[in-house]
Amino acid sequence: MSLLVSVDEAEFTFLVQTTKAAKGNVSIQLSSLQNAGYIVVWKANRNGKQRTLCRITDKGLQAMADYTEALRSYLPL
């Protein structure tokens, strides 16, 4: 979510490379976030390659804002 907040949209491979997590792990995370309505996932053909792209939704952005606000109240920052 932190990654998707900072970009407009990103490819699945980019998320895997940046988080250094396993593909299956990232895939499960994305499914959960999609089911919660926090992100949208779609497939697109770019330069002859089928790619999985994701983007954060307004609901996801709000949830992230609430989460960071909650963290701020717990942590002595």
Partner: protein, 188 residues
């Protein structure tokens, strides 16, 4: 993922977005050299024999640059995973504005005169490089754009075929030199 990891990713994202555009030296050099050579060729042809339709140089240069850009863009995208940041969005909108100004330059050339059109073209190029340099925090582009801008006024004060040489000089200052600096940084 803890707070520190999130912060690391955010920092990495900012660097990645900037590095993404710092790999763009290919496009600066491609367009810079094509326009510079086309300007010199136009000057040479007009000086040598004014009856030659020297403007045809642009009918070769612009499609050549466009094809080169498309091929370069596809290659670059194939080598790295796709990600679109707000920085990319800013650059896209800036380039759209630049294309609009190029259209205006051509319209000025047809309706007023080509000296004025080249002046608009140099001014548009300069503004583009200053803005791109500002967005990407790359000083050579900003300096190149600022140094090239006065040449748009010079273009209004002189006549053809010297205007073509002024255009070439402006492109070398605003695009080719910063492009080579960028290239050197990429190779480090």
């Amino acid at each position: 993922m803890n707070a520190q990891h999130s912060l690391d990713i955010m920092t990495e994202m900012v660097s990645a977005a900037q590095a993404n555009h710092r790999r763009d030296s290919f496009f600066y050099l491609l367009w810079g050299w094509i326009v510079a050579f086309a300007g010199i060729a136009e000057f040479t042809m007009r000086s040598w024999n004014p009856s030659i339709p020297a403007e045809l140089v642009w009918l070769v240069a612009i499609p050549a640059g466009s094809i080169g850009s498309i091929i370069g863009g596809i290659r670059q995208e194939r080598n790295q995973p796709y990600v679109r940041t707000s920085l990319d969005r800013s650059v896209t909108h800036l380039l759209m504005g630049f294309v609009g100004l190029l259209t205006l330059a051509i319209a000025v050339g047809i309706t007023v005169n080509w000296n004025a059109a080249y002046a608009v073209f140099i001014a548009a190029y300069s503004c583009l490089t200053v803005s791109m340099g500002g967005i990407l925090r790359f000083r050579p582009l900003v300096v190149g754009g600022i140094c090239a801008f006065p040449l748009s006024i010079v273009a209004l004060l002189i006549t053809f075929p010297v205007t073509s040489l002024v255009l070439s000089a402006a492109i070398v200052i605003s695009y080719v030199i910063p492009g080579h600096v960028l290239r050197r940084r990429e190779l480090r």
